[in-house]
Each structure stands twice: as C-alpha cells, then as structure tokens.
C-alpha cells in the first residue's frame, strides 16, 4: 500500500490533519472538491482532465493535491467532521476500510455501478465491500522487473524468467550487482505469493502468512541474498531511496518496481534515453500484487450529483486513455487499451500483460493494516536477524492479536 515511502514525513501529516479541518468541501452543490494523491509529475494532467470534465459537465471543480502518504489520515480526520473533499483518489487497499467506517458513499444503484463490464476484474474487485459498490477504479498497477538494457546486453544475458535463473546469470552481472531488493512490505508480496502462499485465506477466515508455502516463498528472497545474486539496504527507512539511487547510478542492473516509478527513472542519466529502461514480467507467474487507485465519494458530500458526473467523466475510456498516454499510468478499462496512443506507449504496452496476471489481495477493511507488521518481519528476515519461519510465525501472532482477531491461526 505505502509503495511510495514517506518522503515528507509524519510530522507534516499531523499539521495536515489539523489543517484538513479547514480545507476541502465548500458545501456548494455546484462545486466538486477533488483530492488528488498523484505525484507532482502527474497531478498537472489530472488537473487538466478535471477542468475539462467540469466545463463540459456544467459544474465547477477544485483540485487539491495532497500527499499520498498522508491522504488516508487526513481524509478520515476531515470526513469524521463532515469536511474534506467530495471525491478522493483512494488507494485500492483503503476502500473497504473507508466503507466500513461509513466515510464513503454506497454507489450501488447510481450510474457509476451500472456499467462495470468494461473494467478489468482485479481492480474492479477492490471497489466491492459486502456485496455493494463503493468506488470506481481509476488506475491499476503491477510490479515488474525493471532492467538496464545496456548492462544486460553487455553481460550477454536476458532478463530472468525465474528467480533460479537470476542466480545463474548473476555472476555475469557482477554478483550482487544483479538485483536490488527493496526490503519493504509491498515488495515482499511477490515472493510470498511465489510458492502459493498468501497473507490470509478470507473464505475460511484463516491466517496463512506462516504456511509452509508462504515461508518457502519469502525464503526465496533471502536465498537470493545468500547466494550473492542480489543486495538489499538493511536500513529500512532508506531502502526505497537507496534502491532508486543504485539503479539510476548503474550500480545494480535490475530492480523490482511499479509503473509509477517510470517518470523518476527516466529523469536520471542511466535512462536519459528511455529505451535503455527494460520492463519485464516478475520472475514466476502471477506473483505481483494488484495495486492502483479508485475514486470514492465522501459520505455527506453536498455535491453528490456533480461528484457522480465528475467520477463518470474522469473514468471514461477517453480520459483514461488520455491519462495513460501522457503519464504511462495503466487504465482500468479494457477499451482504453485499444486507443492507438495507449497501444503504442512502450511502458503501458509492457505492463499490459502484467496487469492481467496479478495476484488478488484480500479486499477486507484490515487490508492496509496487514502490511505494516509485514514490513518489520521482512526487514528482519532479509537482514538475517530472524529465521524466516520464526519471523512469519510471530507475524501470524501479531495478525491475530491486533489485526484480525476473529481469524483462526492455521
């Protein structure tokens, strides 16, 4: 969930939480306030599309850019007090939680829930909570293996199809300079899924994070480090920055990251020519978690009608295609991929097959809370401070005592 780690920290969040009470909704049914959590490189395009939507739709829109790290907190604080935006760009993992807290509107029966056949199934699943529709998918994403084409060509190797293969080609790439593993929770999921493991089994209400499959999966990551085929940053708060620095300076040949990182990578020297940035599926099949964002409408908004029109317009095929063509963000509508400008986009077309091959996440209110304790456990495992099985057993206990107390331990 917190894929982009806090670069602007929590203290700002506190200030934000206080300020949130003053910002946001105008209480005017003709004006839609939209909280946009996209990055600085992206928000301009969203602003433009939103303005167009408002002009053709006959309402006004005010786009407020908020930091992704702090948006959930600020939204909750504001919405509890009847303030906040009319429309929020929410991470897919937040929807069930906000729905359960009664902070977003049930959209079942509105035009937004009527036409959903065109949406990709994985992001669409994130909009449902207890059989009702609470959101509209905005963008989707998946993790991929990013590689430095020049370095791989020089070593005479292809991007690996399995993690075993990576171990074999690592010596040609300079041993642990082959891959940088981010020791962050979201980036642990592909390994956890890789041998058939999962965090929870929602149907049987069981915690499965310490199942033999999950343990074997996470161990794959540790084995890569032990075999000298990958490196990692042992200081967790710096991990994502260090990974980016190592990749953009040419110190490592491969990293695991998502489409949101492309603009940053292409700004660096190594990838000044974007053609040098290779994007391959993650080794293993169907191991990338489903990511992305949804539009939600605040419960108690005075501009519900205009907000529905706004979300409809923003998530239309035409606008999704426009956003995808300009920002390389992945559309959630199948029809948007057929747009010629999108189909020709190198990043989008590289990610297209990956999005169809993602691993479902449990769309339960506690979704977001599952990741935080995983971060600590994964960092301990990669640092060699705890044995994989023991760390995951401990994690399962944490889940049961403080995240999903009504689930059984396996």
């Amino acid at each position: 969930m917190m894929r982009r780690k806090a670069t602007v920290g929590a203290a700002l969040g506190l200030v934000g939480a206080l300020a949130a009470g003053c910002g946001g909704s105008s209480g005017d049914p003709g004006e839609v306030v939209f909280w946009d959590t996209s990055g600085p490189a992206e928000s301009g395009v969203f602003q433009e599309v939103a303005t167009d939507c408002a002009r053709t739709g006959g309402y006004r829109v005010r786009v407020e850019t908020v930091s992704f790290d702090q948006a959930l907190n600020n939204y909750k604080t504001a919405a509890q007090g009847g303030q906040g935006p009319d429309v929020l760009r929410a991470d897919v993992g937040w929807v069930a939680q906000l729905a359960q807290a009664g902070l977003i509107q049930d959209l079942t029966g509105t035009p937004l829930a009527a036409d959903t056949a065109d949406f990709l199934p994985a992001p669409l699943a994130s909009t449902q909570h207890e059989g009702k529709t609470y959101a509209v998918p905005q963008v989707t994403d998946a993790l991929a293996l990013f590689y430095n084409k020049a370095q791989l060509a020089q070593a005479g190797v292809e991007p690996p199809k399995t993690w075993e293969e990576l171990k074999q080609i690592a010596p040609q790439l300079g041993g642990d300079r082959a891959l940088f593993l981010n020791n962050d929770e979201y980036y642990a999921l592909p390994f956890l899924y890789s041998q058939g493991g999962d965090l929870l089994d929602v149907d049987s209400r069981t915690i499965t994070v310490n199942s033999p499959e999950a343990v074997r999966g996470v161990q794959v990551a540790k084995d890569l480090l032990d075999a000298g085929a990958a490196r990692t940053a042992l200081d967790q708060p710096n991990s994502y920055t260090t990974m980016k620095a190592a990749f953009t300076s040419g110190d490592v040949a491969m990293v695991v990251d998502g489409p949101w990182a492309v603009p940053e990578y292409t700004q660096s020297g190594q990838f000044a020519d974007p053609a040098n940035l290779g994007i391959a599926p993650l080794p293993g099949k169907g191991t990338s978690p489903v990511g992305g964002h949804d539009y939600v409408i605040r419960q108690g908004s005075d501009a519900t009608e205009a907000s529905i029109k706004f979300v409809q317009c923003m998530s239309s095929t035409e606008n999704q295609a426009k956003i995808a063509a300009r920002l390389a963000l992945l559309p959630t509508r199948q029809s948007a991929y057929d747009d010629p400008a999108v189909a020709q986009h190198p990043v989008v077309s590289a990610f297209r097959p990956l999005v169809a091959d993602t691993h479902d996440r449990p769309w339960i209110p506690e979704n977001a809370e599952l990741l935080e304790p995983l971060q600590t456990a994964y960092a301990d495992i990669l640092a060699g401070r705890k044995e994989t099985g023991a760390a995951l057993d401990e994690l399962a206990r944490t889940y049961q005592t403080s995240v999903v107390p009504d689930y059984a331990q396996r």
Partner: protein, 307 residues
C-alpha cells in the same frame, strides 16, 4: 460579605484573569478530561459518534480493560514495560549528553576568545533549522550504502555500520541526532547562567589558590544550579515526548519505539485509529512525567532550590 469585598477590591485582576481561565478550560482541561474518559471505553474510528453522518456513538464502557491490557506488557498493546524502559534510556542518554556537551561549550564560549560571536552563531544553528529538515538530512547521512557517516568510517579504516536498521544502533543514531539538535538550547541557557556568576567569586577563589578544576566544581557548578535544575527538568519532559526526530528518521522501527511514537502509531498511522488505546498511553505518559516532576522538585527543594 467577604466575597463581595474581595470582588470589589480585586475585580480588575479577576477580569484580567477570566479570559485566560476560560481559554485554558476550553483548550486544556476539557480535552484532558475527554481523553481520560476515552481510556475507559473502546472508542475507535468505527464506533465514534458522527453527527454529520447521523451516526450514533456505539462505543462502550469497558472499565479498566485498556489499562490492564497496556500494563500487562503484551506486544499487541505495545509491550508497555519494554517501551517504557527504552523511553527512559532514550531520555537519559539524550539529557546527559545535552547537559554535558552544552556545559562544556558554554564554558568554552564564556571565555574571551577571538570570533566568539561567530562561534556562538554557528553553534546555535542546529536549533534554528526546522526539525524535519535536520531529520531528513541525517537520514541521508546515515544511509548505510551512500551515507557520509559510513564513508568517513571507511576512510579511517573502521567498518561501516547499518545505522538505521532494525537493531539497537538505530536508537544510538536517533540519540546522536537529538543530541545534535538539543545541545544549542542547553548551551545558551547555561551560558546565560555562567554570565550571571559574579566574577569576583572566581578572583577570590584564584587568590585562595584554587585550581581551574576546583573553581569549576566549587564556583561554577553551584552558581549554575538553579539554571541547571530547570533546564534539566524541561529537557527530560521534552525528550520523553520527542516524537518528530524518532518518527521521521526511523519510521515505525520497533527498536526505536518510545511511548509517544507508539501512541501516535495507534492513533494515526495504524489503519484502525484506536483512540482508546492511544488515550491510555497519553494518560500513562502524563502520569509518569507528573511523578518524575514531583520527585525531582522535592529533591531540588531539599538542596534549597525553588522550582
């Protein structure tokens, strides 16, 4: 009759004080009592009342459950005793370093030397930089791969360390940053204290043949006592509750978790927003500090200080 007399004589003072009392009651006493009340309930963001959404409060009175959960030291509720111990270590290490380094610098700067004004300005700088900027700068310095600290260590032949990993070194790192941030205040406060010690005391001591160390122990330290006791008390309270340094540099690392950062995690950063548990931590932190302040004041009073 007496009351009327009192009012008549002092009406102006009461009128002046009334707004302050009202504001304090509204901004301090009321939230404090509300927080205290929350600790006896199971309030969180799904059970809180919301007049805007026409939702009734559905939290229930749970008696002392929150306190029992926290005081049991259970990891699910923040391992209270281990966290308290870490908080005490953190506070002690920071305040001792603050005081010792601050005093040394103050003594140094109290002498006549060239560019004294310049040194004073430079040494006060860390205090003038906003905390979050310092925190992020230090985070880069401590980066185990690209950080300056490790580069320097390697240059002098020492092994590089993982400063901000999940080990006790992370606590050492945040102590270093907090000491760097807090020394200027101590230095300035103690410098003020030093300048108020009459110079004839030193002259008299010198004539009596006291060595530099004897002058420091028998003139400087006693002369600083009143300043020291207040800044140490303040320092302990601030450091005990120092949230930004720890949270911005190490995020939710269990090895640097202190009581306030855990309360914050439960209130804001965790998805549940467990208001009841966070309030319980708040009340416990307040109690610990009140006990400390009371004991400290008594100890000071015994030494003849009025705080």
């Amino acid at each position: 009759m007496r009351l009327r007399n009192l009012l008549a004589r002092h009406w102006f003072a009461y009128a002046m004080v009334a707004p302050v009392v009202a504001v304090l009651a509204l901004l301090v006493v009321f939230p404090l009592l509300q927080g205290l009340f929350f600790t006896f309930t199971d309030i969180n963001d799904t059970t809180i009342a919301n007049p805007v959404l026409d939702r009734e409060a559905s939290y229930e009175f749970v008696g002392l459950d929150n306190y029992l959960n926290v005081l049991s030291g259970d990891p699910a509720h923040g391992s209270f005793w281990a966290t308290l111990l870490r908080t005490v270590i953190w506070t002690g290490a920071c305040v001792v370093c603050h005081y010792v380094i601050g005093l040394a610098l103050a003594v140094l700067l109290n002498r006549q030397l060239r560019f004294r004004g310049l040194y004073r300005v430079l040494l006060i700088l860390p205090w003038a930089v906003p905390v979050f900027i310092s925190a992020f700068a230090w985070r880069y310095l401590f980066n185990s791969e690209y950080g300056l600290v490790n580069r320097v260590l390697e240059a002098v032949g020492l092994p590089a360390q993982v400063w901000l990993g999940q080990s006790d070194l992370a606590l050492v790192s945040v102590v270093v940053v907090n000491v760097w941030l807090g020394v200027p205040f101590m230095m300035v406060a103690l410098l003020g204290g030093l300048q108020s010690i009459p110079s004839d005391l030193y002259e008299a001591a010198e004539i009596d043949g006291a060595s530099a160390w004897q002058r420091f122990v028998h003139v400087t330290l006693p002369g600083l006592r009143s300043v020291s006791s207040s800044v140490v008390l303040l320092g302990v309270i601030w450091t005990f509750n120092m949230f930004p340094v720890i949270y911005l540099i190490t995020e939710n690392n269990p090895h640097t978790r202190i009581l306030v950062t855990y309360a914050f995690e439960r209130f804001f950063s965790g998805a549940t927003r467990d208001y009841a548990l966070a309030s319980t931590y708040g009340v416990l932190i307040l109690s610990v500090l009140l006990v400390f302040a009371a004991v400290y004041r008594r100890a000071m009073r015994r030494q003849g200080e009025v705080l």
